[in-house]
Structures are given as structure tokens and as C-alpha cells.
């Protein structure tokens, strides 16, 4: 079950719960009167990172928790994502190649991390024991 606090939330590694994270980010953004377009960019960045974790991060069939904290401070919207999936540093993933190529040369997929990096100002990754810690930050124009 998803537990809700003011600005944090824990979901299970089930893709159907990802909307709860979007809802939390939108709620914090709206509470702080941020621009909808910028809120949605952070929603998208978070969705890309969390869906990657859910789709590729676990090699068992057990339920795992993913915790999300959303903060707005000094004009920066900050999303902290914590999970116990396999160690994965998205910053080590090279940018996709051939974005300027015609469709016949394009391979579907691989855009999620690229989008997240382009839509945020900063992504920070840490591995602490068995935990992936990811921070997404974006300066918001009020």
C-alpha cells in the first residue's frame, strides 16, 4: 500500500503506482504556485527514472519500496528518490546517438534518461549500502 505524508510517499515497484508520484510532485508544485509547465517537466523526469527502476532494476518477483521526497526551497524543486534496486547510476549512461538521424536509422527507446537530464538542472546519484539515492533538481521561475 502507498503511504502518504505531506511531501513524501512510498510506492511499490509496480508501474501502476507511478501516478501517485506524479500527484505528489504536482501537489507540492501547486502548493508553491509554480508554473505548470515546469512542474510537468519534473514529473516527467521523475517518471522516467522511476519507471526505469521498476522495469529494469529488480531481478526477483518480490515487492520493493521506492520512497520519494519532494521539496521546494530557494526556488529549487528537488526530488529525492530512494530504492533498493540494483546499483544503477544514470549519469554513466551515454547520451543517445543519432538524434539527428532519419527515422530509418533511429532505434526506438533509450530516451528516458536523456529527457530527464535535459529537463532538470542537476541530477545527483549516490549508492549507500544497498540503496540507490537519486536527486533531481530544477530551478523554477516563479
Amino acid at each position: 500500500m502507498a503511504a502518504v505524508a505531506k511531501n513524501e510517499l512510498t510506492i511499490l515497484n509496480n508501474i501502476s503506482q507511478i501516478g501517485l508520484v506524479s500527484g505528489l510532485i504536482e501537489q507540492v508544485g501547486n502548493d508553491n504556485h509554480l508554473r505548470k509547465a515546469e512542474i510537468m517537466e519534473m514529473v516527467l523526469a521523475a517518471e522516467e527514472m522511476i519507471s526505469n527502476t521498476i522495469n529494469y532494476g529488480y531481478d526477483d518477483d518480490k515487492a520493493h519500496e521506492i520512497s520519494v521526497i519532494v521539496m521546494f526551497k530557494e526556488d529549487v524543486l528537488r526530488i529525492e528518490i530512494r530504492d533498493d534496486a540494483a546499483a544503477f547510476d544514470p549519469l554513466n549512461v551515454p547520451p543517445p546517438e543519432g538524434l539527428e538521424m532519419p527515422a530509418t536509422h533511429r532505434q526506438p527507446g533509450g530516451l528516458g534518461i536523456h529527457l530527464a537530464r535535459r529537463l532538470t538542472d542537476r541530477i545527483t546519484y549516490q549508492r549507500e549500502k544497498n540503496t540507490n539515492l537519486l536527486f533531481l533538481e530544477k530551478k523554477m521561475t516563479k
Binding site: I18, E47, E48, E100, A103, T104, R106, P108, L111
Partner: protein
């Protein structure tokens, strides 16, 4: 997300309303595959109601373009919102898709070539 479809002569128009994301992209994929199987290879996707797209949705757009083109068909998109255009730009999609401002313009462009 809601998908609605209509046909105008041989052109299938799929309208997307709402959020196309990792939880529902299969719906759009299923419709595209259905039309390919039926040999309906001239498709237009009306994006006027689509307010959000993630990489899972973008993937289906690219798959649709590649499969329709390979089948000798065509795909046109129309009425992208500003935030969606930005995502298309970042993804390198703006240059590879035929994107029109309105459904009418897309219909005219597709109609001239079929």
C-alpha cells in the same frame, strides 16, 4: 488517456486525449498494430488533447513511423501543444515526423500523396 478514432476516406485518425505514459502506451501500440494488420497504412495522430508524453509514448510514435513507412504507408501528426513540441525537440523527433498545425492541414498533406 482516451483514444478516439475516425476514418476519413482511407486515412485513419487517432486522437489522443490526456497523458500518454508508461502505464498506458500499450493502448496506442495496440491500435497502431491493429491498423497495420488491417492494411490501414495511412495514419494521422491528432495530439491536440495530449498534455503529457513520456519516453514510453515517444517510443510508440517512432515504432509506428518505422512500421508504417516500411509498409509503404504514411504517418502524420498534428496539433502538438507547446510542451509536447519541446519534448519532441529534445528527442530529435521534430525533424523525422511530419507535423502539421491542424488536422485539416495534415489531411490535405496525406490526401495529396495517397
Amino acid at each position: 488517456m482516451t483514444l478516439t478514432e475516425k476514418r476519413q476516406q482511407q486515412i485513419v485518425i487517432i486522437s489522443i486525449d490526456g497523458r500518454l505514459d508508461t502505464t498506458n502506451y500499450q493502448q496506442l501500440e495496440g491500435r497502431v498494430m491493429h491498423h497495420l494488420q488491417q492494411n490501414h497504412t495511412t495514419l494521422m495522430i491528432d495530439c491536440s488533447g495530449m498534455d503529457y508524453v513520456s519516453s514510453a509514448g515517444l517510443r510508440i510514435f517512432l515504432v509506428a513511423l518505422k512500421k508504417l513507412t516500411a509498409a509503404g504507408g504514411q504517418l502524420a501528426l498534428c496539433a502538438l501543444r507547446e510542451n509536447i513540441k519541446e519534448i519532441f525537440d529534445i528527442s530529435g523527433f521534430t525533424g523525422i515526423f511530419r507535423i502539421y498545425a491542424t488536422q485539416q492541414q495534415a489531411l490535405e498533406a496525406l490526401g495529396q500523396e495517397t
